[in-house]
Structures are given as structure tokens and as C-alpha cells.
């Protein structure tokens, strides 16, 4: 782990994307479904997942989108990124969604569909459950 941006403790299943996410405009604010047909999570919902993706891109207003999916109960349980960007960091902080960044190697070990326990306060924050 590199940085803890927003603290928290959750259990959930990884939804992994190899591509950056632009929250403004490509994530449906009500359902959490990705609407960008060029994205590898196209038509998938990020709701209740542990969303693993490289980093956020696009307008800083995207932070409001993160708040919005949280208030519509469609947000991920937590997010894990490789690089930090202020849109995702402040969006998760506002919405109180746990957020950490991990090294390139740790990122590559996280696989889509894996069940994990994330505890940002632990010295070993990611535990694989299966």
C-alpha cells in the first residue's frame, strides 16, 4: 500500500478495470452503471463493488458524481487505485468511501471477482478471502 486517502473497513468483491475512469459523464448517477462503450466496464455497475482502477480522469466536478452515486446507494464499497488524483480523492472523502493507492505490483495481484477484506488501519490492509 502506498497511501490511505480515506479510512475504512469493508468486505467485498473486486470489480477491476485496466482503464482510468471519468466519473463525470460516464458513470450513471442513479445506478452506478458505466455508460462509456469504449470502457472495459461498459454496462457494468460499480455498485457495492470494491472498485479497482488505475486512476480517475476528467473534470473535478466528477467528485460531485461520486457523492451522487453514494447518496443513491449505488456507490462502490471502496476504491483502490494505482495513482492518486484529487477528483477521486476529494469525491471519496466527501462521500466517505474508503480509498487507498497501491503499488504497481500490488495492483497487478488484484483480480476481478476476488473476495477481499479491506482494512485501511491494518498493517496488511488487503486480505484475500478465498
Amino acid at each position: 500500500m502506498k497511501k490511505i486517502l480515506v479510512k475504512g473497513k469493508v468486505k467485498g468483491t473486486i470489480l477491476k478495470s485496466q482503464k482510468p475512469i471519468n466519473f463525470l459523464g460516464t458513470v450513471d448517477k442513479k445506478t452506478g452503471i458505466i455508460s462509456d462503450e469504449n470502457h472495459d466496464l461498459f454496462k457494468k455497475s460499480i455498485k457495492d463493488s470494491i472498485l479497482v482502477f488505475p486512476y480517475g480522469v476528467g473534470s473535478s466536478v466528477g467528485a460531485y458524481t461520486i457523492y451522487s452515486i453514494k447518496s443513491n446507494n449505488s456507490s462502490p464499497l471502496a476504491m483502490i487505485c494505482e495513482k492518486v488524483d484529487l477528483t477521486v480523492a476529494t469525491g471519496c472523502a466527501l462521500a466517505n468511501i474508503p480509498l487507498i493507492t497501491v503499488s504497481e505490483k500490488e495492483f497487478s495481484l488484484l483480480e476481478d471477482g476476488q473476495k477481499i477484506f479491506l482494512d485501511t488501519e491494518s498493517s496488511n490492509p488487503i486480505t484475500f478471502l478465498e
Binding site: 486517502l5 451522487s68 447518496s71 480523492a89
Partner: protein, 383 residues
Amino acid sequence: MELTKEEESAFKGEQGEIMQMAYRILVATGEATDAEKLVPIEWAHLSGVNYNTIGDAGEEFLASISKNARVKVKTSLNPMGFDIDNVSNYNLDDNFISKQLSIKKSYEEMGVIPSFSCIPYEIFDIPEMGTQVSFAESNAAIHANSFDNLKTNKESAFSALASALTGKSPYSALRKETKSNLTIRMKVENPDELTYGMLGFFAGKVGNESVNISGVEQMDRRSCKSLCGGMGTSGTCAKFNFDEEQDSEIVDFDEQEMKKVYDELNTSDKGDLITLGSPQLGLEEISDLAIKLKGRSFKKRCMIFCPRAVKEQATKLGHTNQLERAGCEILSDCCTCLTPLIKKDEVDSVTTNSIKGAYYLKNSNGVGVNLKSLSEIIKDETR
């Protein structure tokens, strides 16, 4: 990042939900920018006002927090989507107007000064040298760091809001005495404000936190603002130093680089209407424009954006009348940047001298852009 006992208690939620949210944002920003502590700030300037940009999520969020949240320091506000005095001329739907007014009300309830301006550095007194502030509007953050001897991060809408609510901000690199290892040498001769806007746009692309600029002469107010607006649009860079650093990497901004920026943003050889102001025009520019337009009038619509405070002063000085006689529409509280008042089904292309305006007109409004300096605009578009 280290927190004091009191900050830690707020972060844990012992001072209520609003403070907890604000400290979560500050801690996340601090971790993201490798700050070691929080420092007090004296002035916050917030973005996230125009309903066109923050949408329903923003409107609902602000309505919800404004019930309890109150700002702790002087806090000013970016432009909104329209000027209530003349919004009926612009065919804007009722939903937009009511949502925008709700956003306005929420900020006012929190104790924010409803300045609706992206040029706080021109309409408020500047605090003493070295004062820490938190400016979210990018051109204002760059202007504050580069020309006003203030210190600010290039804040996000949320980090500036958190600073307003707590009176604190992470002590990130831009708040310290920083030196840049990149120098841009200005090689274009006889620059006007459009040239400076393009220089800024180029600098934002190549620079990281701050850049040095060498080879620039004394700039007028219009050129300084254009430089800041251009840089804030294209990158994350938030400060100019006006001297060449020894041993720094050198990049030239020459005719060829300028042409690249021009070709990226100039997409039309003429405009259906003209906009002036992004950043908004201050009193100095309005007065200068009134003089330049004496005895002349525009051949097409010309929208001028300025803060309400500036329009009021301009009216007292007789400039508003002079400009309206020359055919200008003067709008306060709003700006070219992300305006909902220019729609692509009504307008094909816009002439402007603003690089920042051009970028957003092209990418957000989806209209063509015809870039011209103010002197060219007056020469070509008035009689």
C-alpha cells in the same frame, strides 16, 4: 499528515458530521499532495457554483449541507450560470433557473459572499504579502500565487470548501517557497493578450506545479489575466516565477509552438457573436474598452462578462451606457466559461480573445471558435 488534537477530534466526528466531512476532504487532499500538516488560511474562494457544471448532485449536496454548515473565514464565490437581471433574454429553461437560485441560496446560507466572480483578486483588497489563501478557481489561484504575493494550492471545489468550513488547508508544496526546474523562454515578439493566453496554455501543458518564464516585458492587466486563464485551463500548474533559474530545463515558446496552440483552439474563421471576459473583465478593462469603442459600434452581438461590483462601478462612471450604445450586452454574475447562454443549436461559432473561453466553448458548448485579439476584434467587428 499530522493532525493536532483538535483536528483529530473533528476528523473522528466529535465536532459533528459537517466538520468530519471537511476534515476527511482535507486529509485526503493532504495525503494526495504529501503535506505534513494543516495551516490556517485567511480567505477561501469557491468554485462549483454554475448549475451547468455541478448539476443536480451538486445542487442537492449544497442544499443538504447548508442547513448546518457555516464558513469560518472570508469566502468568495465563482460565477454562476446567468445574470438574473437579463436572464429572460436568453431562453434558459425554468428548471435551470430554479436550480441555480437554489445553489445561490445554499451558499448564502453558509455565509459565503455572493461575489459570483472568477477575479476575486480585482474586486477584493489583497491581504498582506505571503498570506495563505485557498482559491479553487484556477486562474485566480495562479494570479494569487504569481502576481498578488499570496499562497494557495490549485484547490479542487471540495478542498476549497473544506478550507472555508475549517479555516485550514494542507501545507502542500505550493504553499512553501518553491522553485521550478523548468524555464519557458518567451520567443514571440510583440505579444498581445492573445499571445499571452497561448503562452499560458502552453505552460500548463509542459509544467507541473510551477514554471519559470523568462523574456517577458511588463504586462498589462489584460495580458496577466489572459496568461493565468490560459495556464489554468490546460494543466495542473499553479504558479509563474518571472526569472530564469540557473540549471533549469529550458523550453522555448516560439512562433511554431504558438501556432500549435492556435490551431488546436481556433476552429472557425469567423464568429456569429463575440464574447469578452473569461476571466471576467475588471473595471480597468471596461474603462479601456469604453475608450476604444468611442464613436464605434459592433456589427454583431457582443457579450461582455464582468462581476456585479464592477458593473455597478462602471455604471456610475458612465461606461455601461457607452458600451451599450456600442451594441454590447453586459452580463454580471456569470462568465463565458461554461456558460449555458450560448447554445450550439442557436450559434455556430464565437469570436473571442480568451484562450480559456475558447477551450470551454469548443469542448463544452460544442461551438466553433474564432480567436482574435481585442484590437483585431475592434478593427474587424466594429464600424
